[in-house]
């Protein structure tokens, strides 16, 4: 039986799709069977980041409505053979979906995989609430920036009210993944510090992903960053976060500003 994760944030553009792909790939590389599932119906980003946009035949809505079975719709990744993608429809939007349809697809995915990672769309409307409804665990993505943190707080409130776990009284397990963390800007006070974010959101920290140019490069070539640039700091942080999800107690590394010898002598550069 699988664990169903939802990767959600409230605010758009903070790294949900990137993180879904990177965590999914990292988990799959450690031997687990992983399905990453797109819930941004009508928009469709996950298949681009996974590099599968030219191989999509059937999508989530096809499976939910019975036009295709799950085996026909799942797209196997070419680089890691235990990683699969269920793409979102581009031509039909979330109104084509019912809760029962989503439940059926998720239940079937649960039987076949170890991890089912649902990439939520931004916002708090039906797409986002559908993505979180049947999840066991939530990974809340936030940038260390005020509007992102406030939106993430809102989404945490929804996780505690609009999900099956919340309605049954069990409560949903939540983890914070702090993305696009820039230590230099945090030191200058331009960005919220990790402590500020944790104080406001009050959920356990899963990992801190540093701001990195490798993320954009990876999505441009259609590869999750944890596969494309394994030596980058961002990839290493995602790999550590994936290990923490599996219960391995990896110590949290705080991304720090790398100061060269030159920099140390001549102080901060002029703005």
């Amino acid at each position: 039986m699988a664990k169903v994760l939802v990767v959600t944030s409230g605010k758009g553009g903070v790294g949900k799709t990137t993180s879904t792909a990177a965590l999914g790939a990292a988990l799959a590389q450690s031997g687990q069977k992983v399905a990453v599932v797109a819930f941004d119906f009508g928009l469709r980003n996950l298949d681009l980041v996974m590099g599968a946009e030219r191989r999509v035949v059937f999508d989530f809505i096809n499976v939910a409505q019975g036009d295709a079975n799950l085996s026909q719709a799942l797209i196997r990744d070419k680089r890691v053979d235990t990683l699969y993608l269920l793409a979102a429809s581009q031509t039909r939007d979330k109104d084509a979906l019912t809760e029962e349809g989503v439940k059926r697809v998720i239940d079937e995915l649960r039987e076949r995989f170890d991890w089912v990672i649902c990439d939520s769309p931004a916002g708090i409307e039906r797409g986002a609430t559908l993505a979180m409804r049947y999840a066991d665990t939530a990974i809340v993505i936030a940038n260390p920036e005020v509007s992102s943190v406030r939106d993430s707080d809102r989404i945490i409130g929804l996780l505690d009210s609009k999900t099956l776990k919340a309605e049954s009284g069990e409560g949903m397990e939540k983890h914070l993944l702090l993305t696009r963390y820039d230590p230099a800007r945090a030191a200058r006070g331009e960005m919220l510090s990790v402590e500020d974010v944790l104080e406001i959101l009050s959920i356990p920290l899963l990992g801190i992903i540093p701001e990195s140019q490798d993320v954009l490069k990876a999505s441009n070539v259609g590869a999750p960053v944890s596969i494309n640039a394994t030596s980058s700091a961002a990839a290493a942080a995602y790999i550590d976060a994936a290990r923490r999800l599996c219960g391995v107690p990896v110590p949290m590394t705080r991304p720090s500003e790398k100061v060269s010898l030159f920099g140390r002598f001549f102080g901060r550069r002029a703005a």
């Binding site: 406030r150 707080d153 809102r154 945490i156 409130g157 929804l158 505690d160 104080e199 406001i200």
Partner: protein, 240 residues
């Protein structure tokens, strides 16, 4: 463009007593009984506007509109509707109300009460003079959540996020940071207070008198504070 006055506006909670009518299916039969009642007491509804309770009534939207029309046609003024599907609400319809509390009907009502199912409901609860249990909240109050306790104090052993609202008939105690909106004494209690460990509120109010974040003394920001009314004026002071 003229500058709008910045004085506060008072708003208070007040309770009113109203009769509720609860129709039963089949509607045609109930309407006939209503007509019988109107024949016996023709002036009754001109003295009393009513709340319409459709809580357990299996009606669809057209049935509901028909019912409203039937009441309107008989000169019965509907103050509000309880128990209707929120999707049916409209600007031209009576307001949809939250559930009221049943109270015993006073003796002054006309003796012809007998046949009809006239239930009396209070529109808003009066502030109790006796002890009422406080509402305890041990988890952080998240953005977008609204905590309402119309009967007493609210005690929060955590923080209130920006974008959250806490509304109490009594006092509000926040053993954490207050970042959202807090409205104490919301049902007419001038002695209510607000306490917090770190004042970062967007709006604080006691019995209708309010201050927004802009108006609060910046020296008190992020400090432990107590908010109360003194002679009708809001006083925000550091609380050590």
């Amino acid at each position: 463009m003229s500058v709008r006055p910045t004085q506060a506006i008072r708003f208070k909670g007040r309770s009113y007593f109203s009769l509720t009518i609860s129709p039963e299916l089949p509607l045609a039969d109930w309407m006939a009984r209503l007509d019988g009642w109107l024949e016996r007491s023709p002036g009754f509804f001109s003295r009393n506007a009513v709340i319409l309770d459709v809580r357990d009534l299996a009606l669809d939207r057209s049935g509901f509109m028909g019912l409203l029309e039937g009441l309107r046609g008989r000169g019965i003024r509907v103050l509000g509707v309880e128990g209707a599907d929120p999707a049916w609400a409209g600007a031209d319809l009576p307001p949809f109300m939250p559930a009221g509390k049943d109270v015993r009907t006073p003796e002054s009502e006309p003796a012809e009460q007998g046949g009809e199912s006239a239930k009396a409901a209070a529109a808003a609860p009066k502030p109790e003079t006796g002890w009422a249990a406080p509402l305890y909240i041990d988890t952080p109050v998240r953005s977008g959540q609204c905590v309402l306790h119309p009967e007493g104090d609210i005690i929060i052993t955590g923080s209130v996020a920006s974008g959250a609202e806490v509304i109490a008939a009594g006092s509000i105690h926040v053993y954490g940071a207050l970042r959202g909106r807090a409205m104490a004494g919301a049902y007419g209690d001038e002695s209510a207070r607000i306490f917090c460990r770190s004042l970062e509120a967007e709006l604080i109010a006691v019995n209708g008198m309010y201050q927004t974040a802009d108006e609060i003394d910046p020296a008190l920001r992020k400090k432990p504070a107590q908010v109360r009314l003194r002679h009708g004026m809001m006083v925000v002071a550091k609380f050590d």
